[in-house]
């Protein structure tokens, strides 16, 4: 369970223009997010950029995704800028980050995806390019991100099948191997799938599956 103390400790020195308060089953973080270089305590010219934000952190973070809003109007409300009309920032595909990163603390989110998102926004302002790439909108983006997280080719049927296998606490060895050889998993790519299972644990795989195909 995320605590106000943990959030305050994460922003205390590094983000002195943010304020955290506890509200009904969530923590609100508001103020100016400073974009700076890594490992630089004090840049002589000050931060590279500042974005006015409001962040809503559910108490079930990191199981539940934080919401980040840009409230200063600096980012044009245009889906191509990866922002919704209400200022809701599409920072990253959450499950992809959960699978790709080991440290899911709030501090790690602040220094990782959030920093990359706002540095990216500044970079796009200046150059018209996304420095770390971008995902397609909607379902296509989800599929691409999940395929990346699993390390497999981005084909929907294969992705869904992998995720069904990975959703099991103990993937069934008699199911057909996802490689399409027709052999049982236990006689084919069992080792590879178990390595993937460690990287993308069942709870994350189940949520990926649910978002890709709500019928599941």
């Amino acid at each position: 369970m995320l605590t106000l103390k943990e959030v305050k400790a994460a922003i205390a020195f590094d983000q002195p223009k943010l304020r955290a308060t506890a509200a009904d089953r969530r923590i609100l973080v508001e103020g100016s997010y400073l974009v700076s270089e890594r490992d630089v305590v004090a840049a002589p010219d000050g931060p590279i950029a500042e974005f006015n934000i409001r962040m809503e952190l559910p108490d079930l973070y990191p199981r539940r995704e934080p919401k980040v809003f840009e409230v200063g109007g600096r980012i044009p409300r245009n889906p191509d800028r990866h922002i919704n009309p209400d200022g809701d920032c599409c920072v990253t595909v959450w499950e992809n980050w959960l699978a790709a990163s080991r440290d899911h603390s709030f501090g790690s989110f602040l220094k990782g995806p959030l920093s990359e998102y706002f540095l990216g926004q500044f970079w796009f302002e200046k150059t018209g390019k996304w420095p770390f790439g971008e995902r397609p909108h909607g379902l296509k983006g989800l599929e691409e991100a999940y395929a990346d997280a699993l390390g497999i080719a981005n084909k929907r049927e294969s992705l869904l099948y992998h995720l069904r296998l990975l959703s099991q606490d103990w993937p069934k060895g008699h199911w057909p191997c996802p490689c399409g050889s027709g052999k049982a998993l236990r006689r084919c790519h069992h080792q590879d799938l178990m390595a993937m299972h460690r990287r993308v644990p069942p709870d994350i795989a189940r949520r990926m599956l649910l978002r890709l195909d709500p019928k599941n």
Partner: protein
């Protein structure tokens, strides 16, 4: 000084260094204090001294030993020079009272011979007051060597490593306290203190940067002396600078409430714990202000700032009975963190936020800034120039930040829900 020989600041650290320099004791004052306490030492050890047989030795303790002295807040206040007067004698030869009186007698004679007022008889110390212009007083702590008993106690409490480290526990002393019932009786269980051990611990926490600072000093002054030959007081490490700035911040913040302000030994101890040999003052402040409170232990519900050379001693022992002290520490740390972070993280080096300026003393900050910034920076035109120049460089810095992330592997890509 002309514009040409001014060393202009280019970074936050240049400004912090200038501020720390401005709030440190001036070298001439330090030299004066040093020569005065040496004079007292010589007096106590003169042939006709009643203490001469006991080889009395005077040495500094506290901030004078640690190199973290800060100027008093106003010219009317004085530097408090804490000294230990150690006699080479045993508790068989003295009671606490007779030791206090014996040292007091000689300190009194010294005062008389130099036309000074009679020394004040404190709970543990004699206070020697100089003429108003001197701007300091000396607190002289009568003491006897008492390392063996100190180390035995450490062993009994389970602190084996400390007990066997002669630098940390081999110079412990027995001191006097006139409020104790057995003050005038021959006993073994005198109060103890270990300022030299604490000084060694503090020095150890910054040993790498102390050596580096001395090397840099030798190079700058073009002297060929080895690092060991350069006295510690000639240089300042980022830890010492940070402690000075934090103490000053505390002094200004609690100018109206001296009684309950966070005490220097707590700030110093927690800072030294949190310091990790950072090479800059800004880096030291970042580490210290981020984690210093994690070194406050919870022992059975009591906040405990352990004396690093005697962990059974709690520097925060007053917090339990006076909660205001603990609240003030939290309030101070929160404010110091905010003030320094806002300057370091959110501002250009030549823009000191108003609250930090206020909490370090506006006059001191302005003086320090004027000494290291071009005169024009104080005018109206300069900020605009600096800002536009900075903007041109922002993209270069962003490029650098992007490269850093690409090297480490980015963790995310922006997306859009619909």
């Amino acid at each position: 000084m002309t514009m040409h020989d001014k060393r202009l600041a280019k970074t936050h650290d240049d400004i912090l260094e200038a501020m720390a320099e401005a709030l440190a004791i001036p070298p001439s004052k330090l030299e004066e204090a040093r020569s005065r306490y040496e004079a007292i030492g010589n007096w106590l050890d003169r042939p006709e001294s009643t203490l001469a047989d006991y080889d009395p030795a005077i040495s500094p303790q506290g901030s004078f030993l640690l190199g973290t002295v800060t100027r008093p807040l106003t010219d009317a206040e004085e530097y408090d020079v804490d000294l230990v007067c150690r006699l080479n004698a045993t508790k068989a030869e003295f009671t606490q009272k007779s030791l206090k009186d014996a040292v007091g007698y000689e300190v009194g004679l010294y005062a008389k011979a130099h036309g000074m007022t009679k020394p004040d008889d404190g709970r543990r110390c004699w206070t020697l007051n100089y003429a108003a212009g001197a701007q300091f007083h000396m607190d002289i702590l009568p003491a006897l060597p008492d390392a063996q008993r100190y180390q035995t106690k450490l062993l009994a409490e389970g602190y084996r490593t400390l007990a066997h480290d002669s630098a940390l526990s081999g110079h412990a002393i027995a001191i006097t306290d006139k409020t104790l019932p057995h003050y005038d009786q021959p006993t073994e269980d005198w109060p103890q203190s270990n300022p030299t051990g604490y000084g060694a611990w503090f020095r150890n926490r910054m040993l790498v940067q102390l050596t580096e600072s001395k090397k840099a000093f030798a190079k700058r002054e073009r002297i060929t002396a080895s690092v060991d030959e350069i006295p510690d007081y000639k240089v300042k490490t980022p830890l010492q600078r940070a402690v000075q700035l934090l103490k000053r911040h505390r002094d200004c913040m609690f100018a109206e409430d001296c009684e309950h302000k966070p005490i220097s030994i707590i700030i110093t101890t927690l800072s030294a714990h949190a310091y990790n040999e950072e090479t800059t003052i800004s880096g030291a402040l970042q580490s210290i202000l981020t984690v210093m409170d994690r070194y406050i232990e919870d022992r059975g519900g009591a906040a405990w700032v352990a004396n690093p050379v005697n962990p059974a001693e709690n520097f925060a022992d007053k917090w339990a009975e006076e909660p205001k002290k603990s609240e003030n520490f939290d309030r101070w740390l929160g404010q110091a963190r905010q003030d320094f972070a806002l300057y370091l993280r959110a501002n250009a080096f030549d823009k000191v936020p108003e609250l930090l300026r206020e909490h370090l003393g506006p006059q001191l900050v302005d003086r320090a800034m004027a000494a290291v910034l071009p005169v024009a920076a104080a005018g109206l035109a300069a900020p605009a120039i600096i800002t536009s120049a900075a903007r041109a460089e922002d993209v270069d810095r962003a490029q650098h930040a992007v490269d850093q992330i690409n090297r480490a592997g980015p963790q995310s890509k922006p997306w859009a829900r619909s």
